[in-house]
Structure formats: C-alpha cells, structure tokens
C-alpha cells in the first residue's frame, strides 16, 4: 500500500539500516564491557560471510525460516496469532517423513513421491492448525492458548509415533531413532554451489513460490483482500459481506498448510528422515522473522536471510573466541530496534501524509501562510 516516491524509498531504507547499525553498536558495547573484542567479532562475521559454505547454509536456513514466517504472517494479516506453527511443522514433517520413507512409495515415480510427501505435509499441518481454528470458530477459544497447548501435544504425539513399534524404523545399536530414510527417488536434489561442501536446498524454489503465492493472493485476489480487510477491521469486513468465521477457518488452514511445508526442505534435501536431531523451534523463529519483515513477502525474505546468516555465523564466533550467545542478544536487539525505527518513521510519514491532505484541502493554510 502507499505510494512510491524517493522520499518513501529513503524512509523505507532508513529504518532497517539505522536499526541494524544501532544493534551492532549495542552488541559492541556489551562485548567491550565484558572484555571481548568487538573488532574480532566483526572480523569473524565478515570472514564467515565470505565463506561459500556459510552462505549456502544461511540460504538453506533462510528457506525454512521464510516458510515459517509466511505461515505466521498469514495469521498476522488476520490478527490471528498462530504460535502453533512449531507443532504443526514438526507433526507434519514426522508424518510425511514416515509416508515418504515407506516401502510402498519406492515404486512410484520420483516427482509423484515428492508431490505426495509435500501434499501430505500440508494436509497434516492444516489439520493440526484446523483444531485450533475449529475451537476458535465454534467455541471462541483464543488461538493463542490453543496453539500453545497443541504445540506441546504435538511433541508427545510425535514421541509416541516415533517408536519402532509404530512409525519409526528399527535401528539396532543406534542412539538415534527416526523414520525409515527416504531413498534417492523420494529426495529433492540440491544445487551444487562452487566452493561449498553444502548444497543449496532444491526446495528453495518452493519457498520462493510460496512467497510469490503469498504476495499474489494478498495483493491480487479477492480472497486476499477479504483476509486483509478482516485483519484491519472485523466489523467493516462483516458489513462488506465477509464471513469472518470462514476467514478464520480458511486462513488458519492455509497458515497450517504452509507451516506443514517448513520441514520439507530439510527433510527432502538433507535429513531424509525424521529423527531426534530434526531441528525443532523453527516456528518460533518464524514469528520473529515475520515481525521483523513486517509480514511483507520481500521484507520477510530479507529478515530470514539475516536470521539465517546470524545463526550460521555463530560457529565462526565460537572459533574466534567470542561467546556465541551474543548472536541471541543481537537478534533480540535487532528486532527491537528495527521496530522502534519503523515506528518513528511511521509517525513521521503519517504527519507528512496529513500535511499533504491538509494542503490538498486548502482550508488549512491560514497559519502557514502567515508564517511563510
């Protein structure tokens, strides 16, 4: 929304850059005070950034973070707070991993297998989010509570299912437990990047597609319009013929479906099995990334990249002898200072806009003329 002008572009950039600089400053002070060298830290991060492997890993992390952020953002656009992305993607990854690894899948053509896996994950994610949606629509249960509870329940459910007696494979002697590995035909090939031992997730394109879809639906479709309208004013949406309950249900299901995708790049591009070391907690990162990127498809992508880079540079910090916890502090400070900066810029912009309106109205010049 809003117009495109040099001023708005400048303002748009001022906020994140200023905030980033501020965050760096805060962290430098913290490091300095506690007897660590800020310069070493910067040096470590810069050299990490130049390493192709860190780059690829950051991009891979960003892929999953981005999907999680989009899932969260769909809810946010409706003023729904889906804290449950975490449980949704874990349950979805686990069940779809079990499906994709199953022996009967091995006969199917590769494309079909991957598609089936992905669709299954989306269905599971949507289903789990649907529980919260139904509770909200029929019983008015706050989605904040229900998704917190569902996250925990998903954990227990996954543990229950991740047992050789159920969906896990029997791995004698191993201290890990996981679903049957997906063989080559069910995997999504990664992209070879020169100079890096890691491959770029093939499903990075899926994330891009989801991001595009998110933008397209919100900006170009009737449904997206109704979704945004409901988020901006429920009462106005109702008066405009939007069924809020339906919107809650559908957007929660969509959010859950996208959440279901969160585990896919990792599962089909690297882990090939859902086991104990499958990364948890991405749903919560998604919340931070969505907020940082202000629910904007491009903003979230940048935020996800930043987040991915910070996470993947902590090893380098560790090597340089800088406490890796500084990364967590930095992430918190960045989120906070970015939003403070955005708020300040927003206030400035509103005043400017009102000034424009005032000028257009013409009736407001009295004092200004006098002073001019």
């Amino acid at each position: 929304m809003g117009r495109f002008s040099p001023r708005s572009l400048l303002l748009g950039l001022a906020a994140p850059l200023g905030a980033l600089a501020f965050a760096v400053l805060v962290c430098a002070v913290i490091l300095g005070v506690t007897g660590h060298s800020p310069l070493d830290t910067v040096d470590a991060m810069v050299s990490a950034a130049q390493r192709p492997r860190t780059f690829v890993n950051s991009l891979n992390s960003a892929t999953t973070y981005y999907l999680a952020a989009v899932a969260v953002a769909i809810g946010f656009k409706m003023k729904l707070f889906n804290i449950g992305v975490d449980g949704q993607y874990r349950l979805a990854a686990m069940l779809s991993a079990a499906l994709a690894g199953a022996t009967f899948m091995e006969g199917l053509p590769s494309f079909l297998r991957v598609a089936l896996t992905v669709v299954a994950a989306m269905l599971v994610g949507a289903g789990w989010a649907g529980v919260a949606a139904l509770l909200k629509v029929t019983r008015g249960v706050s989605e904040v509570i229900s998704t917190i509870m569902l996250n925990a329940i998903a954990t227990y459910l996954v543990s229950y299912l991740l047992n050789p007696a159920r969906l896990a494979e029997d791995r004698p002697g191993s201290n890990n437990v996981g679903t049957r590995p997906i063989d080559g035909g069910g995997q999504v090939a990664g992209l070879e990047i020169p100079g890096s031992s890691s491959q770029l997730f093939g499903l990075v394109f899926l994330a891009a597609l989801v991001g595009f879809g998110y933008w397209f639906v919100l900006a170009r479709t009737r449904f997206g319009f109704e979704l945004k309208a409901t988020g901006l004013s429920e009462s106005a949406a109702v008066a405009s013929g939007v069924s809020v309950k339906k919107m809650v249900l559908v957007s929660m299901l969509l959010s859950g479906a996208v959440a279901g995708l969160v585990g896919m790049p990792q599962l089909l591009g690297s882990s090939y099995s859902y086991s104990l070391d499958f990364p948890p907690g991405i749903g919560f990162i998604g919340i931070a990334v969505a907020l940082l990127g202000r629910n904007h498809p491009v903003g979230m992508a940048l935020a996800a990249l930043l987040w991915g880079f910070l996470d993947n540079s902590s090893n380098s910090l560790d090597v340089a002898g800088v406490p890796r916890e500084i990364v967590g502090i930095m992430q918190g400070v960045i989120v906070l200072s970015v939003v403070v900066a955005y708020e300040l810029v927003r206030r400035y912009r509103v005043r400017a806009e009102q000034r424009d309106v005032g000028t257009a109205l013409g009736r407001t010049k009295t004092a200004e003329e006098a002073s001019a």
């Binding site: 901006l232 106005a236 405009s240 509103v350 004092a367």
Partner: protein, 514 residues
C-alpha cells in the same frame, strides 16, 4: 477562585481565552481565538464541523497545549499542563465522544482520578453516597453500581455530567451534549443546565442545533475556520442568521420536492423479530414495505432497535422470525454478500466501525463491500486498474478532498470519508440503499451534496431506508415516516404535515400510541 472580583465592579469573567493558536500537522485548528465567558452564564459556541471548537475546549481543559495565546480563569492567567490542572481550577468537560470505560461501573467511571480514600483504599461507600447525593440534587437519576456497558446513551450522557459535577467544577464545558439525545431528553438536560446556572455555575456549550442554542444560551460565539468571527446575543439573531455566520453563505435545506414513489415494492419486511444476545426481544414483529423511488424514514431514540433492524436487513444479524424480501426474492437467510450483490447499498451508522478501513488506501476502500463485482474484481482476481479508475471517478463526482487515491483513509476528515462511502455505495447502482445517519458529523456543504445524490438516485427508482437522528433531515428527505420505539414501529406520519415536536413525543412514547 472563579468568583474572585476583578478591579472593576463586575466580577471577573469566568474564562477568558485570548490569542489562542493551535496547529496540527497540516491543519491550523485554532488561530488567534478570543472568547470571554461571563461567570454564571450559559455561553454557546457554534461553528461548522472542523471549525476548531473541540480543539479550543480541549485547550481550555488542559488536554491540548496551545502554541500561542493565554488562558485566564477568573482573571488570573493560568497554564494547564494536563486535565488534572484544569480540574483543580474548577473546570470540567463533557466530551463530544463519550469518555467512559464501558467495562467499569458508573461509580468507578465517576470517581476515577479523584477517588475518595479510606487509608490507601478506595472508599466505595463514601463515593456511592456522594454520587447518589449529586444524582438526586440534579435529578440525574443514575445508579452508581451499574456497569456502563448496560447504559443507554441518555444515561451515559448523565454519567458524563455527573463526572464533572462530582469534581466540583464551577465551569462546565459541554461539547455537543445533545447530539445523541431526543427532544425530551434535551429538555431535561436544559432543565439541569438552568439549575446549574442558578447555582452560579458557568457553562460553555457547543451545539450544531441552533434553535437549542438560541433557547438556552446567554451569549453566543461563532467560529469559522479556526477563528472567532462573531459574538452575538441570542436575542438579536435568528437561527438562519446564525447559520449564515457560521458558514459564511446561505444554508441548504433537506427537501424532496415532488414524489417519485412507484407501486413496485422493493423491500418487503414482514414480522421481523430479532432476539439479542441476552435473550431480550430487540425487534418485535416489524412489518413495512419500501417501493421503488420511495424514501422511508425511521425516527427513533437511539437504541430502540434501529441498529438491529439495519443489521438484520444486511444479514449481519439473524432474525428469529419474519421474512425479508428484496424484489421477488426471499433473502431472510441470505448472506451479507448475497444481499450486497442483489443490489443493497449500505451507509453504516458508524463509519469507522463498518464503513472504512482506516489503514487502507482510498481505492482499497472503494473495493470494500464490492470485492465480488466489477469494476473491483474479475472472478477471483482483483481488478486494480478498474478499482483505481472508479475511485478517481468517485473522488471527482463526490468532491472527496484528497491529494490522491493512494493515501490511507485515516488521513481524510470524517466528512470526506463519508462522501467516499456514499459514492462507493451509489456506484453499484443499488436498488435499495440502507442509510444510517448519512450526514452525521458532516458539514453543511457536504450534507447538501449527499442529499442531492440520494434525491437523484431516488428519481431513478432507488428505494431508500433512511435512519437519522436529525429530525429535519428525516422530515425533509422522507416520503414516508415511521417511528420506532422499543423494537416496534409505533406510528406512521406524513412528512409534509408532521412537526419535529410530534415526532419527538412519539419517539419517547409520550405521544399517542396506536
């Protein structure tokens, strides 16, 4: 303090505002305003929407700080940093919009900020007693232990006045206290005001209803475009003269001229009954018909079922009994969307709640409610080009004052938002327009424009359900008039013969009941 005598024989004026200037970004709300309010009088302040009356009063009440100018209370120069200072100086204000916490009790709302204490505790008993006392003394009739949410507008208004009296204010500012009251309630209020005046209190009173002003005020100050343009005595002006002072030109009048009513029924409502959340019947077997080219006006005190009627017709509320037919079609159970697509236009009572998305651009607001139809969309996709072009058209045709269609609706003034809404609802060539208070809070110029648009559409066989608190508007714009009281239509009137007084007594149930 307010009665402290000045050097001359006469007591010092209760309030003197001199050279007050207040600028907002892009708007100069007040510029060099001068007002003198004599102690123990009712002083009326009139002016168009946006003339700067409320801003001036907020400055006097310490809620806004002036950029320039001086305030004298009882002859003493004063500066208010916050309402607390003003309250201490004996000033109280009843705001244009209710300043009440709905979920707190009357008692809590009243004592907030000036609580009687027993140790560190709030002394509920003392508070209750004092509220009862004041309530009885000025016959305000409020129960301290009710939750504000359960009160009607009239009661809320009295709670607001009680708040001020509770603080022992000697100067009362009443910003459009009568806007939501019916004539009988207004009379009651004026009775209260006279009583207060008799006790030596000073009252500053803002209203758009000029006959009221003439009947109650001792002095009148007129504001236009942020400054005071005249100070007159009510004995020396007529309401027409006063209005022309306000506007700086002649006034428009709502009137329909010749009838365009056909015999083709557009909206037929039979036995419509709606039950509220608490099980009360809020609409009780309503039946009426509106024909093509007919405006049905509904008069009533707010809270007698108008909102429920409108929502039931729009499909926002489900009726418990009765049928609604649009043309030949039974739409009793149809969704809001279907109704809108079938040709119902809707100008809601509260534009910020139901009419616009404040944080969305004008063209997005154009799409709102029309997202399923051309030119806003094609199939499942929005038609941005179409929507924007049509928004430009509305901005032009309805004289919406804005620098462009890309600004947020929140940047527009209320009147301009309302013009956009009316333009939008008319754009889809509706067969039926449901208009709730279409000109509320809109200044005279825009009022005239909105009336003209309704008249023109009526001539093209639009059926209109008009709900308004402005009885002149109702009488002037309706082909048929009905009065709603406690969820029932209690009387029909011919607008060409009825007077506002007759309507008023029917609205309160004081008049004849058939």
């Amino acid at each position: 303090m307010p009665t402290e005598p000045a050097a001359g024989g006469e007591p010092a004026p209760a309030v003197e505002l001199s050279g007050i200037t207040k600028r907002f970004p892009g708007v100069t709300a007040n510029s060099d305003v001068n007002i003198t309010v004599r102690a123990g009088t009712v002083h009326a302040l009139v002016g168009e929407n946006g003339a700067g009356k409320s801003t001036l009063m907020k400055i006097l009440y310490g809620m806004q700080q002036p950029d320039e100018g001086q305030i004298r209370i009882g002859g003493v120069p004063t500066a208010f940093g916050s309402p607390a200072d003003a309250i201490k100086a004996g000033i109280g204000m009843v705001h244009q919009h209710f300043m009440l916490a709905d979920n707190l009790t009357v008692l809590e709302n009243v004592v907030l900020g000036s609580e009687p204490r027993a140790g560190v505790r709030l002394d509920f008993r003392a508070a209750r007693e004092r509220i009862r006392e004041i309530s009885a003394a000025y016959s305000l009739n409020v129960d301290p232990d009710r939750v504000v949410d359960d009160l009607g507008v009239g009661e809320r208004q009295r709670v607001e006045i009680l708040k001020v009296l509770y603080r022992g204010a000697r100067t009362l500012i009443l910003d459009e206290p009568t806007a939501v009251l019916v004539p009988q309630e207004v009379d009651e209020l004026f009775g209260n005001l006279r009583e207060l005046k008799a006790e030596g209190l000073t009252i500053v009173f803002i209203s758009h209803k000029l006959d009221e002003v003439l009947s109650v005020a001792d002095d009148i100050t007129v504001m236009r475009r942020g400054t005071t343009v005249a100070s007159v005595s009510p004995r020396e002006v007529t309401s027409r003269q006063l209005a022309e002072l306000m506007v700086g030109s002649a006034l428009p009048v709502p009137e329909l001229r010749d009838s365009t009513v056909t015999d083709r029924p557009v909206l037929t409502v039979t036995g419509l009954t709606v039950t509220g959340a608490d099980g009360r019947t809020v609409l009780d077997g309503l039946s009426f018909t509106i024909h093509a080219g007919e405006v049905l006006g509904i008069a009533g005190v707010e809270g007698n079922g108008q909102a429920e009627l409108v929502e039931a017709l729009m499909g926002i509320r489900t009726p418990t009994a009765g049928t609604v037919r649009l043309g030949g079609e039974n739409i009793t159970r149809a969704s809001t969307r279907h109704r809108r697509e079938a040709g119902i236009g809707y100008v809601p009572e509260d534009r910020h709640r139901q009419g616009v998305l404040l944080e969305a651009t004008l063209w997005e607001n154009r799409v709102l409610g029309h997202q399923t139809r051309r030119p806003s969309s094609r199939g499942a996709l929005l038609d941005l080009k179409g929507a924007k072009a049509d928004t430009e058209r509305i901005v032009r045709d309805y004289d919406v004052r804005t620098p462009g269609i890309g600004v947020h609706a929140s940047a527009l003034s209320g009147g301009n938002q309302q013009k956009l809404i009316v333009g939008r609802e008319m754009s889809a060539d509706p067969v039926l327009l449901i208009a709730s208070h279409p000109t509320r809070g809109v200044d005279v110029g825009a009022q005239a424009a909105i009336w003209e648009h309704i008249r023109r559409a009526r001539a093209e066989h639009l059926a209109v359900l008009l709900i308004s608190a402005d009885l002149d508007e109702l009488i002037g714009m309706s082909d048929t008039l009905a009065v709603i009281l406690r969820g029932r239509l209690v009387a029909d009137y011919d607008p060409s013969t009825v007077t506002p007084e007759q309507l008023g007594s029917a609205m309160t149930g004081a008049g004849r009941e058939d």
